[in-house]
Symmetry: none
Subunit: 430 residues, 2 copies
C-alpha cells in the first residue's frame, strides 16, 4: 500500500439519482477526511437497486483500501446496504445485540414500541463492528472484505455529521502513517468570494505556493482555508494570516466553526449585556439564530416580530406620523422600533430591521431588496441602509446576519462603518 | 437496446472531490432528464486526473447508451475533458471553426482579445457536434464512441442550465421511444418513515409491485412517492393513494411541494383569519416559517418571542402566580401566552409554545424535549404536551412545525387529536 490510502465513496438512494435531493453528504465526508490528510479518490452514486449495488460494492472493494458507503441504513424496504454488503462479503445477516439495544433505547426515549421496520435496522452482517449514531435509529457499521475496510453510514445529514468523528477515528486506526495536511479555517461575514479572491490577487502577488488558499461560500458566512502540508511551513502561513487580517479586518468572525450568533452571545455574556430584536422583513430570524445557540437565555429575554404597521405602532410605539410620512421601510421607523424593543424588553442592546423582502411590495423609491437597520442602546443608535436584491429566503438570511454583525461590531467597540458585500477599502498602508 | 436507455453521468473536478463544492449539477441534469421520462442509472465523480479520467470514460462508454460528462471544459490546465475523450475515442484534437467563432464573438462582446487560454477551448475531438452555450465561453459537444453517445457539458451551473435544452433535444433524437415514468408525491407531517412503512406493510399486504413506493425523510416533513412506469397503471395507483389517505388521514399536507406554512397561510387567507404566535423554546421559528412564504403579510400581523419569564409576564400577561406555581413549561402558561398574543396582536387565531430545548435546563419532571403547545382563538383554546428528545436545532424545527400543524388542523376543522411521531391508531375499518 502506498502512503495515500485509496478511499472510495458509494452513495446510495433513488432520491439522489432522481435529482430530488442534492448530495451534500459527499462534501461533508470529504471535508472531514481532508482535515485528517485523507482524500477520496472517486465516488459512485447509485439508486436503490440491489443487483446494481452488489456488483458495484464488489468492484469497489477490489479497488480500494477503504470504501465509505452512505445511505441505505433506514428501516424501509428500499434500504438495502446491510443485506447487499453481507451478500458481497459472504456473511450471514444476523440480529446484532448492541444494535438492537441501541434501537430499543432510541424507541424507549421517544415512548415508541420497537416495530418490525425498526427492528430490521439491527440485522447486520455477522461480525461487523458498530459505528455509533448519537442521534438517529440507524447504527453505522464496518466490515472487512478483500483487504478493504467498508464503513457504512446513514444518509440523513445530521446523523452522518454526528457519526463522522467515529468514522475518522476508525480510519485513523487503519491508516496511521499518512502525510498530515493542516487546515486553518477562518470564518468571515460581509465579503463575497470573488471580492476576497480579487483583494488577495491584487495585494499579495507573492502569496507562497506552499500555503494553499481556498474558499467556501455559505450563506451567510464565507469560510477561507489556509492549508499547509508540513508543520515546518507554519511561519509562512502565519504571514499569510497576518495579510488576510490586514485586508479583511473586522469581516473576520473567528477561526474553525465560529458562528456569528455565538460570537454575539459570548461577547454580550462577557460584558453583562442583554439583547433584543425588533423584526419586520426578517420575521423572527434574528431571534431564531440567537436562540439556536445553547445558553442564549443568559443574554436574550426575547424579541418582537412586528410585521404589520399596526403592531409596529401598538407594540413598539412607532408613531403613526412616521409610518404615514416616511413609511415602514425608513430610518426613522427602525430607530423607533429599536427604542420600543429596548423599552418593552428591558434589554441593554437591540437591533431592528425593516425592508422589502419581495418578490412583491417594491416601488421605485424602495425597490425589492431595500432594508434599513438600526442598532444600539438608549444612549446611542446607529443606522444603515442596504440594498441586497436577493431571492426572498436568502435575503432574510443575509439581513438577519447583517443585524447580528452590527451587534457584534458594537460589542467589539468597532467604530468604522461596515462595508458589506462590496469592495472593502484597503487600509492605506497595504 | 432495451426500452430504457442506460444513461451514465461523469462529473469531473478536484473541487467536487475535496468537498469545497457541493454538486448541484447532477440534480439539475437528473430533474431535466426525468421531465423527459429518462433516468440516469449511475454517476461517477472524479478529480482532475487525466489517467483516471481516461480509464473511467472508456469503461463508462462500454456500459452505457449515453454518457453525460459535466465539467472540465474551461480554459485552464486542469480542464481535461476534450483531450482525454479524444484519446479514448481515437480521434485527433483539432481547432473547431464553429467553436472558434463562438469564442471570438464571446470575447468581442466583452471587449476582450482572444488569448491562448481561451483559444484552447476550441480544440475539440475531430468530427464532434457542438452543443451551444448561450452564456459562457465553453462550448459543449457530442462524440460517438462504441455505440455510446457522449455529451460534454460545462461545470458552471448557470452555463449547464442554459445548455440543458440542447442536451435534451439531442437525447430525444437518439432515444425517441422511451417509457415515461410518472411520480406522484405526497407531503406529510407528524408520522415517521418507519411508522409509515410499518403501517403500509401491516395493512396493505397486497400492495401491487407495479406501483413503486418510496420515502424521503426531511425535517420537518416526510415525502411519500408513488411511481408508475405506464399511464395504464393509474387506476392501481389511485387505489394505493386511497389506502394511504385512509391510513395517514390528516397527516397528509398535500401533493407535490406542499409546505406546512404555506398551507396554513392559504387556509387562513381563504377564511379571512389572521395569525400570531407566542414563542419560548422555538425562539421565533414559527414566525420565521410563516414569513418565509411570500404574501404572508396578508394574514400575519406579527408575533412575540418571550424567552424569559419576565417577558412572558410583561408582554403577554402570564401571571406571576402561574409562573411561580407551575413554571414556564406548563399547560397554564402556554394557555395564557396564546391569550396574551391574541390580545396584543389583534389576530384571530394563535399558537404558543414553551418547552425545554436542551441540552441544559431539564429536570426529572420536565426532561429535555418536553414541550407544551396551546392554540386557538379567544373562544376556545386547545393544548397538547409532546416529548421529543431531539438535538436542539431539530427539536426547534419539529416543534415549530407541530405548532403550525395544530393551526392547520384547527383551520381544517379537524377535531380528532393529532398523533404525532408515534404509531397512529388505524381507523377501525382498515
Amino acid at each position: 500500500m502506498t502512503d495515500a490510502p485509496r478511499i472510495q465513496l458509494l452513495l446510495t438512494g433513488d432520491e439522489l439519482m432522481s435529482g430530488d435531493t442534492v448530495d451534500s453528504n459527499s462534501a461533508l465526508i470529504a471535508r472531514e477526511l481532508a482535515s485528517q490528510g485523507l482524500r477520496p479518490l472517486r465516488r459512485v452514486t447509485l439508486g436503490d437497486d440491489a443487483l446494481a449495488l452488489q456488483a458495484e460494492i464488489a468492484t469497489l472493494c477490489d479497488n480500494a483500501d477503504a470504501l465509505i458507503i452512505n445511505g441505505g441504513l433506514g428501516p424501509t424496504v428500499d434500504d438495502l446496504t446491510a443485506e447487499v454488503l453481507a451478500r458481497v462479503a459472504g456473511l450471514r445477516l444476523v440480529e446484532h445485540p448492541q444494535a438492537l439495544d441501541h434501537l430499543e433505547h432510541w424507541c424507549a426515549r421517544r415512548g415508541l414500541t420497537l416495530n418490525a421496520a425498526n427492528r430490521k435496522q439491527a440485522l447486520l452482517p455477522e461480525g461487523c463492528e458498530l459505528l455509533p449514531n448519537p442521534i438517529g435509529s440507524a447504527v453505522g457499521f464496518t466490515v472487512e472484505h478483500n483487504n478493504c475496510l467498508v464503513l457504512c453510514t446513514p444518509g440523513v445529514p445530521g446523523e452522518l455529521r454526528a457519526m463522522l468523528p467515529h468514522l475518522i477515528e476508525r480510519l485513523g486506526e487503519r491508516f496511521p502513517h499518512r502525510s498530515q495536511s493542516d487546515v486553518l479555517r477562518l470564518q468571515t461575514f460581509g465579503v463575497g468570494e470573488s471580492t476576497a479572491q480579487q483583494m488577495i490577487s491584487d495585494h499579495c502577488p507573492d502569496w507562497p505556493d506552499s500555503v494553499g488558499l481556498s474558499f467556501r461560500a455559505g450563506a451567510p458566512q464565507l469560510e477561507i482555508k489556509l492549508v499547509i502540508d508540513d508543520p515546518a511551513l507554519e511561519p509562512q502561513r502565519q504571514a499569510c494570516l497576518d495579510t488576510l487580517q490586514h485586508l479583511l479586518g473586522a469581516h473576520i468572525l473567528g477561526r474553525d466553526d465560529a458562528r456569528l450568533a455565538e460570537r454575539v452571545i459570548d461577547l454580550a455574556r462577557d460584558q453583562g449585556i442583554t439583547l433584543t430584536s425588533a423584526e419586520s422583513c426578517t420575521g423572527g430570524l434574528i431571534a431564531q439564530m440567537l436562540t439556536q445557540i445553547p445558553g442564549s437565555s443568559d443574554v436574550f429575554p426575547g424579541a418582537f416580530v412586528t410585521y404589520s404597521n399596526a403592531l409596529k405602532h401598538s407594540v413598539l410605539g412607532v408613531t403613526t406620523d412616521t409610518l404615514d410620512s416616511v413609511g415602514a421601510v425608513s430610518e426613522e421607523t427602525v430607530r423607533q422600533m429599536v427604542q420600543g424593543a429596548l423599552k418593552a424588553s428591558g434589554a441593554t442592546l437591540g437591533v431592528a430591521v425593516s425592508g422589502v423582502a419581495g418578490p412583491g411590495g417594491g416601488s421605485d423609491s424602495k425597490p425589492v431588496g431595500t432594508v434599513w437597520l438600526a442598532w444600539g442602546d438608549l444612549q446611542r443608535i446607529d443606522t444603515l441602509c442596504l440594498h441586497w436584491p436577493l431571492e426572498r429566503t436568502l435575503f432574510q438570511t443575509m439581513v438577519a446576519a447583517a443585524a447580528l454583525d452590527c451587534l457584534r461590531r458594537r460589542l467589539l467597540g468597532i467604530e468604522e462603518s461596515a462595508h458589506y458585500l462590496r469592495q472593502r477599502r484597503v487600509p492605506k498602508d497595504a
